[in-house]
């Protein structure tokens, strides 16, 4: 099936928030903190500007609590006399002329009496840097299985390593933006977002309105990658405050620089591994310590940390595991949701470490993985018994065969000024919310029968390029025997659609798609089709129903139910962390230029078992896009920090891969249907970002005989490692 909104996007006719027609509106803008921490001593409005023409909003203008409601309530909508990071919003301005507005923003001076900032999450804070709890720890979580210390004490070989990953910018094509206006006494906010009901929640809380007086509409969204999970609530609040104060529609759209500087990024992380193994490579103990940089407010860091530590031990069987995770407060621009949500960081460390272990033992990295991959009946770190019938070794074997691994591994690595290498990562990704998350969300989907016999799918899950509209159309059409043209997918407008949860966590197709199917079934029951259960018969039955109930609403509905036999204990962090995992083996081949230390990925194989492929083109697209994004994170994307803010907030100096920088990405799927996912599907959206970075670095390690531990592995960094390696070798010879 073609992408439903594809033609509009292809021809440039799709209207994103910045393109929407709007009458008599004001542009909004944000004045931000210049300092990483301190008391605001003065806000000065420069001369030469007629400030009476501007709408000015500060923290005093909030009708409700000055809090962006998320997991915690620590983050203000607008700083109230105290700032905790550079670019923290302090003041909002609006004006009908955008250029005048830009001049005005530049003419405001925010003076801050600086206080000692915490800027390195890896070192314990000094007393004067402590700003959260007793130790700046935003969240501490721990997973424990067996007796790690004892197992390590008796392990024949113990291998240690420390791995670091950098922040990553989402670089969605469409920067963030919102429009707010009043419709009678209802506040309407439209914009680019992944989670309409998160925005509703944030608006009702801080603006002191009930849900009847707030309406949020998602506009066509040009990519999100998690960057539009929590941050849109902030922009929505800002636009709404300006609209409420001015009584006019307000449009607040970030340009690329502001978007890169002020919005969230992937959490930087440091992961320490201490691994006990037998001489033939069987894992006996994994002691893992994960530290993440949370930035200046809690935002989603506790759940990012949670997913990170749950994936940290990898898809391996090991009886003794301890994973200790901390998210640290720093005075950096807060970090947030990003595709993978903590797992890419811990998988990078785990998979890079597996190769370090393999090198130490003199075992081929593929063989080491074969010996340790989970077999059905074995338990993950949280004690979840994996019993899905997937042969994880077969996933690996398929990748090895496609990549011609054995031959490539044995081949001569040297060629003039280049060296070649090949590297593997085997990994997994749990789909849907962690632990009891899905139960707490209690998502609902409606499927309405329309008077003309068509059906309408109503959900709050949004299209951002990943294919939600098309996949929901296909699922509903298949379920009810209809053609795609008989299916309408409703705009995500909270005045119309039920809360089916956020469009995050690889849950849309698997979890919400399943609700679409069940809501379809419910619709069939309600029209009481008798023998005419599907297709044309169903359409006629729907039309008959409407004739019998003029003006009535015919709605089938489904609410999330926990699959049987799943249990999670949030207290001990044990049990079934996810309903299902997708499993993957990725293999990268690289060529390193010894003159410039640039690493080029020359081939990439991505094999994954995802339950069921719902749409071949989209699934491939998710994998290829994720691999591209992962290669960027591994080799190119380097956030340069200054006072906790990005110094290179431009696409000139923050480089993402072009097609020239990418290899052919060869994708293969294995299918083992998951009974509780739509048509057997498991989540796929995030999985592909977990594997590329370790696979690429393992390939570099193979090429050069060094052990790089940090990404991005820029040429500058690789030069240092390689030269150090060469110097050390020189010293050993002498």
């Amino acid at each position: 099936m073609h992408r439903r909104e594809g033609l509009a996007k292809l021809t440039g006719r799709e209207r994103y928030v910045d393109d929407l027609p709007l009458d008599d509106f004001l542009w909004g803008a944000t004045v931000r903190s210049p300092a990483s921490r301190g008391r605001v001593t003065a806000v000065r409005f420069g001369r030469g500007i007629d400030w009476s023409q501007f709408v000015v909003v500060d923290s005093q203008d909030l009708p409700g609590p000055n809090e962006i409601l998320l997991i915690e309530r620590d983050q203000p909508v607008l700083a109230a006399g105290y700032v905790r990071h550079v670019h923290e919003p302090v003041l909002l301005l609006a004006h009908r002329d955008r250029v005048a507005l830009r001049r005005a923003v530049a003419a405001v001076t925010i003076e801050v009496a600086p206080e000692p900032a915490a800027l390195d999450f890896r070192v314990p804070p000094r007393p004067e840097q402590i700003q959260y709890g007793a130790d700046n720890v935003l969240k501490h979580l721990r997973i424990e299985k067996g007796d790690v210390e004892r197992a390590l004490a008796t392990a024949p070989v113990v291998v240690e390593g420390v791995y670091e990953t950098g922040a990553q910018e989402h670089v969605y094509l469409e920067p963030q933006g919102m429009i707010a206006h009043m419709d009678g006494d209802v506040l309407v906010v439209r914009g680019s977002m992944q989670c309409p009901y998160y925005v509703v929640k944030a608006l009702t809380h801080a603006l002191n309105r009930d849900e009847q007086h707030v309406r949020v509409v998602q506009t066509p969204t040009g990519g999100g990658f998690g960057g539009k999970e929590e941050y849109p609530s902030t922009i929505a609040l800002h636009a709404a405050l300006l609209a409420l104060k001015s009584g006019r529609p307000v449009k607040l759209v970030y340009d690329r620089t502001e978007d890169m500087a002020a919005t969230t990024k992937r959490h930087p992380a440091r992961v320490r591994h201490r691994t006990g193994v037998t001489r033939d490579g069987k894992l006996v103990a994994q002691d893992i310590e994960v530290v993440m940089d949370g930035g200046a407010y809690v935002t989603l860091s506790p759940v990012v940390l949670s997913r990170g530590i749950i994936h940290a031990a990898g898809p391996y069987a090991c009886e003794h595991v301890r994973i200790d995770g901390r998210a640290m407060f720093t005075n950096a621009v807060p970090f947030g949701a990003f595709r993978g949500f903590g797992a890419p960081q811990t998988h990078f460390a785990g998979e890079r470490h597996m190769d370090v272990v393999a090198h130490r033992l003199g075992i081929d990295p593929a063989e080491l993985r074969r010996r340790n991959l989970l077999r059905d009946g074995e338990r993950t770190a949280t004690g979840q018994v994996v019993n899905d019938g997937t042969d994880r070794v077969a996933v690996l074997e398929r990748a090895l065969a496609l990549a011609d691994y054995d031959k490539k591994r044995a081949a001569n690595k040297a060629g003039g000024t280049t060296r070649r290498g090949i590297g593997i990562a085997t990994f997994h990704h749990g789909a849907g919310f962690t632990g009891s998350g899905e139960v707490m969300l209690s998502s609902r989907v409606d499927v309405a029968g329309l008077p003309d016999g068509r059906i309408e799918v109503l959900s709050a899950n949004i299209e951002m390029g990943q294919g939600t509209i098309t996949v929901f159309t296909a699922l509903a059409a298949a379920r009810l025997g209809l053609t795609p043209d008989d299916v309408v997918v409703a705009e995500a407008d909270t005045a119309r659609v039920p809360n089916s949860g956020p469009t995050v966590a690889s849950r849309t197709s698997m979890v919400v798609g399943r609700l679409v199917e069940r809501a379809c079934d419910d619709l069939r029951r309600r029209v009481n089709t008798g023998g005419r259960g599907k297709g044309e018969g169903l359409k006629r039955a729907i039309m008959d129903w409407h004739r019998a109930h003029p003006g009535g609403r015919l709605v089938g509905s489904a609410t999330y139910e926990r699959p049987p036999g799943i249990a999670w204990d949030d207290h001990t962090y044990t049990g079934d962390a996810y309903g299902a995992f997708a499993w993957a083996a990725y293999i990268a081949e690289v060529e390193v230029d010894l003159r410039t230390y640039t690493t080029r990925v020359t081939d990439f194989v991505a094999v994954q078992e995802i339950g069921k492929v719902l749409h071949e083109t989209f699934a491939r697209g998710q994998v290829q896009g994720g691999v591209a994004q992962g290669i960027g994170w591994a080799l190119l994307e380097d956030c340069k920090w200054q006072d906790g803010a990005m110094a290179n907030a431009q696409l000139t100096n923050y480089l993402i891969p072009t097609t020239e920088d990418l290899p052919p990405i060869r994708v293969a799927f294995l299918e083992n249907p998951y009974p509780h996912g739509a048509q057997g599907a498991k989540g796929l959206g995030e999985l592909p970002i977990d594997g590329p970075a370790p696979a690429v670095l393992n390939a570099v390690a193979d090429a050069l005989g060094v052990e790089p531990t940090t990404i991005p592995l820029t040429p500058e960094r690789l030069m240092e490692i390689a030269e150090r390696g060469a110097r050390n070798a020189e010293q050993r010879r002498q």
């Binding site: 830009r102 620089t257 410039t596 340069k640 100096n653 480089l655 072009t658 040429p715």
Partner: protein, 276 residues
């Protein structure tokens, strides 16, 4: 913002003679970068050169190549005889941005913008290009390797326009262009090199390793003298004399020096008997 659109060079020179703060505009691919944020510059006068037919020409004559001030990268890539006569120009042009920028960006704009990381300047300098400047007072010619006086500083007076770039046509037995960017396309150079050898001698030009693109005269001397070079490290003393790279957002001084030495060594090893 005021945009003037003179139809002739004469008009353009008259305009800027009266308004020394007026800004010439060619392809605007440098001028418009981050334009919305640069509100302070919106009030200035701009002189759009794009309608001046006299500045568009590319001509081969009297043993030289003459690039008009509006000649773009695209023009050079597609001009006849360019690949044989001036392969470095084609090589550099293909490395500038992507096709949209190649089609708009001009060589003259690249010169006057005076970025130390420019890609057009090193190859022009390696070919001994001469910048032809004109004002109401007359014409002046400045060899490109003497055009820059410091970071973003040039010998062009505000009342002067670049009208042409003259490049002598010589036979070269060595012609190498290297651009090391942060990625394989669409990137600003971290290290740039143009190496040429002809009857006029060695030319080695480096970009992104000093406040301006510049000739590396110590390296050139070493090549002319045939000083033996047994590895990249032997080039470091000359590199130290020629360039002064810094740590910045895009790279480090150490990386730039190392890479410069390795590329020079690797590129010259096959062609220069003193390199072993």
């Amino acid at each position: 913002m005021t945009v003037h659109q003179p139809g002739t060079l004469r008009e353009a020179l008259d305009l800027i003679a009266g308004k020394p703060e007026a800004v010439p505009v060619a392809g605007a691919t440098d001028l418009l970068v981050h334009w919305p944020a640069r509100v302070a510059e919106h009030d200035r006068d701009y002189v759009d050169l794009s309608r001046i037919a006299e500045l568009k020409a590319i001509a081969f004559r009297n043993g030289e190549l003459m690039l008009g001030a509006l000649a773009t990268y695209w023009d050079v890539i597609h001009a006849g005889r360019m690949k044989e006569g001036f392969p470095l120009l084609v090589a550099a042009a293909r490395q500038v941005g992507a096709v949209q920028i190649q089609a708009r960006g001009t060589w003259a704009g690249n010169i006057v913008n005076a970025s130390p990381a420019a890609d057009g300047v090193p190859v022009l300098m390696a070919y001994d290009a001469v910048v032809v400047l004109a004002s109401r007072a007359g014409q002046e010619e400045v060899p490109l390797d003497r055009f820059y006086t410091g970071y973003k500083q040039t010998r062009r007076r505000p009342d002067q326009l670049v009208v042409a770039i003259r490049i002598p046509w010589r036979a070269h037995d060595v012609a190498v262009f290297e651009k090391v960017g942060g990625r394989r396309a669409q990137a600003i150079a971290k290290v740039g090199l143009a190496i040429a050898h002809s009857a006029a001698g060695w030319r080695v030009v480096a970009a992104s390793v000093a406040p301006t693109v510049r000739r590396c005269t110590a390296i050139e001397r070493l090549l002319t003298d045939g000083t033996p070079v047994r590895g990249p490290d032997d080039l470091h003393p000359a590199i130290e004399r020629d360039v002064t790279p810094i740590d910045d957002l895009r790279s480090t001084a150490a990386y730039r020096k190392t890479v410069m030495a390795r590329l020079l060594y690797d590129d010259l090893r096959g062609v220069c008997p003193a390199f072993s």
